[in-house]
Symmetry: C2
Subunit: 257 residues, 2 copies
């Protein structure tokens, strides 16, 4: 049974303010809870229905995680999703060191990504393409927002994600580090040289890469729209931020094949 204090505490973690006070966050849904139990994250408590607890007894015991059996009706009082799930974990937000100073692989840098679904999807793309580090500007949506966690499908637990002053971070890098940014007038990603290491900047959903960050970009790239017939040049004005990220990461990795 859930106490009213537990309900209150869990619900408070849906807000960034309380996540920062308690240094805790929620991971909800059967898959996400299993993923976090198998990760390096410290899980403080699992709230789950009897069936789920029974099915996942081994992993709970081997991780020595404390758990509380709740009814689906009780889950409704604590869920962060549109409908209650069989399991919800409360976990510790790990202390992060500063972002890396030596860039010897591809790194994504997010310049003010605001949509939780986009951030989650970008983390999942990074995980697929073996990109281990993401740097987020301080104004980017919070990684521990329940909607972000949901959209990552567990990939967040395998990637190092830092929040920092993006301009300062880029300024601190060795001048040899390539900084790629997507602009309508950039060179086609299909033909321009792409290095095996460097920073790929992803801009805000509506305004793109900010002026101060664009000054740091060393290589302006673009994803060309395909126009078969020059009489019909009308096409989508832009691609969604996470779609553009996927196409860019795919092309970088293809070259490294």
């Amino acid at each position: 049974l859930l106490s009213s204090n537990q309900v209150k505490h869990i619900n408070s973690l849906k807000q960034k303010k309380f996540r920062e006070i308690y240094r805790q966050f929620l991971a909800e849904g059967s898959k996400l809870v299993k993923e976090i139990l198998e990760s390096q994250y410290k899980v403080l408590n699992v709230y789950a229905i009897a069936d789920w607890l029974k099915q996942n007894e081994d992993i709970l015991l081997s991780n020595q995680v404390s758990f509380v059996e709740v009814s689906l009706g009780e889950m409704e009082r604590i869920t962060a999703l549109s409908s209650p799930s069989p399991a919800l974990a409360v976990a510790e937000i790990p202390e992060m060191t500063g972002p890396p100073t030596l860039i010897n692989d591809l790194v994504l840098a997010l310049d003010d990504i605001r949509d939780p679904g986009n951030l989650g999807t970008i983390i999942r793309i990074a995980d697929w393409f073996g990109i281990k580090t993401i740097i987020c500007s301080e104004s980017s949506v919070d990684l521990y927002n329940p909607k972000v966690m949901q959209a990552t499908m567990g990939s967040a637990f395998r990637i190092n994600i830092f929040y920092t002053d993006l301009k300062k971070f880029l300024s601190s890098l060795s001048p040899e580090v390539k900084i790629y940014g997507t602009f309508a007038q950039g060179d086609s990603i299909y033909s321009t040289p792409l290095e095996k290491q460097g920073i790929i900047i992803i801009g805000n959903e509506s305004s793109g890469i900010s002026n101060e960050i664009s000054l740091k970009v060393t290589d302006r790239i673009s994803i060309p729209a395909y126009i078969k017939d020059s009489r019909h040049t009308d096409h989508a004005e832009s691609l969604n931020a996470s779609i553009a990220t996927a196409i860019i990461c795919s092309e970088f990795r293809r070259r490294m094949g």
Copy 2:
């Protein structure tokens, strides 16, 4: 001023059942309404606040579209979005002929895409990459669902989208037509031959390509995950359906240079 019959009629169009009865749908938001006014679609009525009507007087008059001035409070009673927008159009669902029988370009075929955001995003990707035709299985989410319309950002008005029995459609094609489908064990899209024309099947969000459709696939392809270090092979289990579509379309178009 809006009559209660108008409010009732507009709200009914949020449901597929009534869209099919009236053969009408909603396009909401300033950008989407402008896009539909510039398209081949027949707009029956525009409901908008005074400012928007003033700004868009020219396009309304040149298209001879009837319009109703409403307050933002009235927009709240008819909006299909989470917050009311300055303009909403009621338009006619066009009569579609059957899908094409001759395949002389790339065509997307959606095998049971259920998420409105995914369908909208896939349509926007197709528009970007100059893919003019999308075939949807009958169980796919309805194109005229307001959430799909929203996610297309107007691209739906530039693409031919057909709903049909996908298995029958694929069976009716000439046996020379390539039918590409993504499978975990398929050949890497980065190295396998890709034709300039053919069908690209996109599977359902959770179950992928159905068994009966997979029998029709002539070329099994895959998007390889990037694994740098064979000691760390753990990565995202899959990519979202619209993310996979973007990567595949990008690679087809890259080859066509």
